[in-house]
């Protein structure tokens, strides 16, 4: 049997949350002052060393490496916390909902045995009772039925409700739903709330709010889709019974629009009962946004880790990140037919474009800060690209995405995205409109002197910038200094590394 549609949306949810966690970590670790001490310690080490420049670069590279891993660590930490919490939930839920075992009378036991056999389950779930709406939880799955359902079963009714719950068991979406619920809760408590309370930069706040909204709406879509999937499966065992149950179901209370609800309305459920699920425009848009953010952050992390060890790090980082992201994109969007190739392709392209501009690396606050010593971080801000270049990039992405929906395969979308994002980065870095592009200058002699200057500036910057007059003087000297350092260094990679380290240190110095 084909994977239910909710599986793809579960994946989209995890992609959104992962992108959100990387996004937040990237902001926190790049913009906040958490690495200042480590970088300044590098300066202190370099000052007394025989080769201060090499010592400084080696030391700050190590710090950068850890910074990169910290960004990657955020989604990993979210996964670990979710798995731990999910292991604790069944016991908590049993106490909280006063869930109890119940002796089944022979009629009910026989009915349940028949329903389990119809569902093709080799092992029956555990039957439990508690007041309220039926639900399933735990592993092995426990199906909780209210006393009213048991009484109805005794009279031969309510089998459709039980079949619906068995549909969840067969679809194996019970554990995934609880993990998704916990991941969303932990993301809200550990990431969104602290960031919201920290009064972040408005540009960041808007971007992060949008990404969080994508995650939240995806989560609601996951909950609704899993109900459709369970209904559809139950209807294959008893079409008339399922139709009758949905016709009798009570519409949900409240005036929320359908896309903000955790359950579809009975009318939607009835309509969806015999309609195969297709890729929607909103789903394509959300996938594009989450994938773009995740791709840029992953590429930056890969670039940091590979920095200095592999020739052509930038290409490799983008292509590897795109290859990784191609798998979830294809699973989410490529396993079902699209509603319209043009509409879904356009939505995916728009999502990727929006996502590329959402990431903190496209924000103005990262001007001189970089994780990577080799300058491989994606400078993604399209505002730094001439309009015709931006238009050309947009058209290429649009045609690529629409074309991909004709034959959706991971092998096709991976290179497409890798090359496109690489082109975006190259276009931004090489653009005359990009203020940070001018920091890389031609080579020249006296590297030792430049290194000392850089180290001195990094070491004295913070206290010096506390004095307004000196700070103004040094800020005026900043650009000249960087050019001088650029000239002073031999190879391009090492030169860029030093320039960016100095930029990092100078930036720390500018912190109030």
């Amino acid at each position: 049997m084909a994977e239910p549609a909710s599986s793809a949306r579960f994946l989209l949810l995890h992609l959104s949350l992962g992108a959100g966690a990387m996004f937040a970590a990237s902001y926190v670790f790049a913009v906040a002052d958490v690495w200042r001490g480590a970088n300044l310690a590098c300066v202190a080490d370099a000052t007394g060393a025989a080769d201060p420049v090499r010592t400084l670069v080696t030391c700050t590279d190590r710090v950068s490496w850890w910074q990169g891993l910290a960004v990657l660590g955020a989604p990993v930490a979210l996964v670990v916390a979710t798995v731990v919490a999910a292991a604790l939930v069944p016991a908590w839920l049993t106490r909280r909902r006063r869930i109890a075992e119940r002796d089944l009378d022979p009629t009910v036991a026989e009915t349940l045995r028949r329903l389990v056999a119809d569902a093709g389950l080799s092992r029956a779930p555990l039957w439990r009772t508690a007041p309220g709406d039926p639900f399933t939880y735990g592993s092995p799955p426990r199906v909780v039925l209210g006393p009213n359902i048991y009484r109805a079963l005794r009279r031969g009714h309510a089998t459709a409700v039980v079949r619906h719950e068995l549909g969840h068991v067969v679809n194996r979406d019970v554990g995934r739903t609880y993990r998704a619920l916990l991941a969303v809760g932990l993301f809200g408590a550990a990431v969104v709330l602290p960031l919201a309370l920290s009064r972040p930069d408005p540009g960041f706040a808007v971007r992060f709010a949008l990404l969080t909204a994508v995650g939240a709406l995806t989560w609601l879509a996951v909950l609704r889709t899993r109900e459709h999937d369970a209904d559809r499966l139950a209807a294959t065992w008893d079409p008339a019974g399922m139709t009758a149950a949905l016709a009798a179901a009570r519409p949900p209370r409240g005036r929320l629009p359908w896309w903000l609800r955790t359950h579809p309305t009975p009318a939607h459920r009835l309509a969806a009962l015999h309609t195969p699920d297709r890729v929607a425009v909103a789903e394509s848009l959300a996938t594009g946004i989450a994938a773009a953010v995740a791709l840029i952050e992953t590429a930056a992390v890969l670039a940091t880790v590979l920095d200095g060890t592999v020739h052509g790090t930038r290409w490799l980082a983008f292509l590897l990140a795109a290859a990784l992201l191609a798998v979830p994109i294809t699973t989410i969007l490529g396993t079902r037919p699209p509603r319209s190739r043009w509409a879904c392709g356009t939505a995916l392209a728009v999502g990727l474009l929006v996502g590329s501009q959402l990431t903190p690396r496209a924000g103005p606050w990262l001007g001189s800060v970089s994780f990577s010593g080799a300058g491989v971080e994606p400078g993604a801000a399209l505002t730094a690209v001439p309009p015709w270049t931006a238009l050309g990039l947009g058209v290429v992405l649009l045609l690529g995405c629409v074309g991909w929906f004709h034959r959706p395969h991971a092998v096709a979308i991976g290179p497409l995205l890798g090359v496109w994002f690489l082109l975006l980065g190259v276009a931004v870095d090489g653009s005359p409109l990009n203020p940070t592009a001018t920091t890389v200058a031609p080579p020249p002699p006296n590297t030792r002197q430049a290194g000392y200057t850089c180290a001195w500036l990094g070491a004295t910057g913070p206290p010096a910038f506390a004095r307004p007059g000196l700070a103004e003087h040094l800020l005026r000297a900043d650009d000249l200094l960087l050019r001088e350092i650029g000239r002073a260094w031999g190879t391009e990679t090492a030169r860029t590394a030093l320039v960016r380290r100095c930029g990092l240190l100078i930036r720390y110095g500018r912190q109030p």
Partner: protein
């Protein structure tokens, strides 16, 4: 003169609505008196991980027990108790406090009282999430049972 206990009234209402549920009445009755609920509490709130199909299983017995047990008999008996207290007697109130099986009322329902009880029954059924036709049927059954005493 109305001279029946709560259980027999409940049975009468349930018999009118769905006799097939009569075998379940003892269980529902016991559950109710262990954890009394107002009819409006029977409308289960939507839970994030619930099936959303709670309304698909319609049982009359919990609504009948909750309404007749609390609103009609207790309410009428409280009125009677108040009358009794005004006359210096607390016996009726003591019967109300006795709850299950002992919540007896000895009340004559006038036409306007029966109409008021019917309105209350209809409102209770709607509050419990029942449809309009179901609410009307419930009100008629309650009025018939009380007027038949």
């Amino acid at each position: 003169m109305f001279d029946r206990d709560a259980r027999s009234v409940t049975e009468a209402v349930l018999r009118a609505l769905d006799p097939a549920e009569l075998p379940d009445l003892s269980e529902v009755w016991k559950e109710y008196w262990e954890h009394p609920v107002h009819p409006s509490d029977l409308l289960e709130r939507d839970r994030v991980l619930g099936s959303g199909l709670a309304g698909a299983v319609t049982e009359w017995a919990p609504l009948v027990v909750a309404f007749v047990g609390t609103e009609v008999l207790a309410g009428a008996a409280v009125d009677a108790a108040k009358d009794g207290l005004r006359k210096g007697s607390a016996r009726a109130w003591a019967k109300v406090r006795g709850r299950a099986g002992r919540a007896e009322g000895r009340v004559v329902f006038a036409e306007d009282q029966l109409a008021a009880v019917g309105d209350a029954a209809r409102a209770a059924a709607l509050a419990a999430g029942r449809s309009e036709p179901d609410a009307d049927a419930f009100a008629e059954a309650v009025q018939a049972a009380l007027g038949d005493g």
